[in-house]
Amino acid sequence: MSGRELRADWPACQARGLCHEVAPELITLDPWGYPLLPTEALDGARLDLAQDAVHACPRRALRLLDKTQ
């Protein structure tokens, strides 16, 4: 199975929330303002949204990695 996975660099994340702002269908926020990321592999439109979220983060705290399973 291919596709890419959205992962956070948690020490870098400061709960600015821009990932949720640009991709609310993909990323919601926990009660403390930190992103709840999708765990499944992303492709197509969802992958595009994920790319937007990665670029929107002022802390560069999001990465898209190849999902190896």
Partner: protein
């Protein structure tokens, strides 16, 4: 406080502190290539003793396989868990086994320096290691000491590689396994002190390793008792009745330390000390065994541990430094007769969200307490505690009144 060390059949045999005695027992240290060393470790299936139980051979092959100008070997003696003392016991009893294992690994990886990470809480261990090193003729090998910061998370793998690289001793996000990219992004073989000792015995005396052929070797266990931490060594396959008293086995036991799971009374009776315990939902981890003290409420004890773990967050990852105190608070309310729904909610929110396994381990403890002590929770909701006789402990005085 120093651990109470019981003489053991293999690693904890007395007299190993002196190099001459050690060499008489085990012979000279050979030099093996990475392949040779990995093959020997794979044949006996030696697993890491730091908690994750990862096959040493796999780690070694990964660290050896990438082209690198420099590779690192790191011996983790940091032992950040308060209830763990096995690495301290090993350094006191058999430092040369630890150092032999590290020297073998360094030679196999062509690393010229070994990092020794010692705990803040037990400063005498650094001195014992320096004393042992002064006796050794390891040529072409430098030994460098690093002292871990006080606290629970300092011994975590990424925190240790950060420390060795000269940065603050705190966990960071690992994008690749340590063996592939560890200290300063270089291939790093980081293992627990006991792992290195077990590897050394495999190479030095393969025919004398005790234990069953299917699982050769021994385990060092730290058992918490009222008078302190007892460190015992048993061969794989030993029944738990050789480790714990009849009374201890009949009480709830927290296996795996503060990130472990609770076992109901008597659960250990049909089991033996073995990596295969994982299949029964009771993983050995780093061999930390905490029988519940007599007359103690298991829920109160868990609540205390959760409070401690929340305070030990590195403070770097939002879901951890917000989530763990919230979890501890919600658990405290559930212990005093409230609902467990909030605890379950936070468990789902926090799990898997953090740079290291501190949040995961903490929610594992909370979830196992809710599962194993469901009856106790029900009793608390009815206003009484079945674990204690006589008057209720201070933490439960408000039983029946939800916060």
């Amino acid at each position: 406080m120093r651990p109470i060390i019981h003489p053991g059949p293999w690693l904890l045999r007395p007299g190993g502190q002196v190099l001459a005695t050690h060499r008489l027992r085990f012979g000279p240290l050979p030099t093996l290539s990475a392949d040779e060393l990995a093959d020997r470790c794979a044949a006996s299936g030696v697993l890491g003793r730091g908690g994750a139980g990862f096959p040493f051979a796999t780690k070694l092959r990964a660290a050896a396989s990438r082209r690198a100008v420099r590779r690192h070997v790191v011996v983790n003696v940091a032992e950040g868990e308060p209830a763990s003392a096995k690495d301290a016991a090993l350094v006191e009893t058999a430092p040369h086994l630890v150092l032999d294992g590290a020297a073998l690994t360094a030679a196999a990886l062509r690393a010229r320096e070994v990092a020794l990470v010692v705990p803040h809480e037990r400063p005498w261990l650094g001195e014992l290691l320096r004393h042992a090193l002064a006796e050794r003729p390891d040529r072409g090998l430098r030994w460098r000491f690093h002292t871990a910061a006080p606290g629970f998370v300092s011994g975590e793998s990424s925190a240790v590689t950060e420390l060795v690289a000269g940065r603050p001793n705190l966990p960071v996000t690992s994008w690749a396994p340590t063996a592939v990219a560890g200290v300063a992004g270089r291939p790093t073989l980081l293992s627990n002190a006991e792992t290195f000792a077990q590897v050394a015995t495999l190479v030095l005396a393969p025919d004398r390793v005790p234990g069953p052929a299917t699982e050769p070797g021994t385990r060092l266990l730290s058992v918490t008792r009222p008078d302190g931490i007892h460190v015992v060594e048993v061969t794989h396959g030993s029944p738990w009745t050789e480790v714990l008293t009849e009374e201890e086995v009949d009480r709830p036991v927290l296996l795996g330390g503060f990130h472990g799971t609770w076992l109901a009374p008597g659960s250990l009776l049909p089991l033996t000390v073995s990596a295969s315990m994982r299949e029964h939902g009771a993983a050995l981890g780093a061999g930390i065994v905490i029988p519940l003290a007599a007359g103690t409420c298991p829920l109160l004890r868990t609540a205390e541990i959760l409070d401690y773990l929340a305070a030990q967050s590195a403070g770097r990852c939002g879901p951890c430094f917000h989530g763990l105190p919230a979890l501890a608070d919600a658990f405290g309310r559930a212990v005093r007769g409230g609902s467990t729904a909030e605890v379950e909610n936070i468990v789902h929110l926090v799990r898997g969200r953090g740079a290291c396994s501190h949040p995961d381990g903490t929610v594992r403890l909370a979830a196992s307490a809710l599962a194993v002590f469901a009856d106790d929770l029900a009793a608390h909701r009815s206003g009484h505690c079945s674990a204690v006789s006589g008057s209720l402990p201070a933490g439960l005085r408000a039983l029946g009144a939800t916060a």
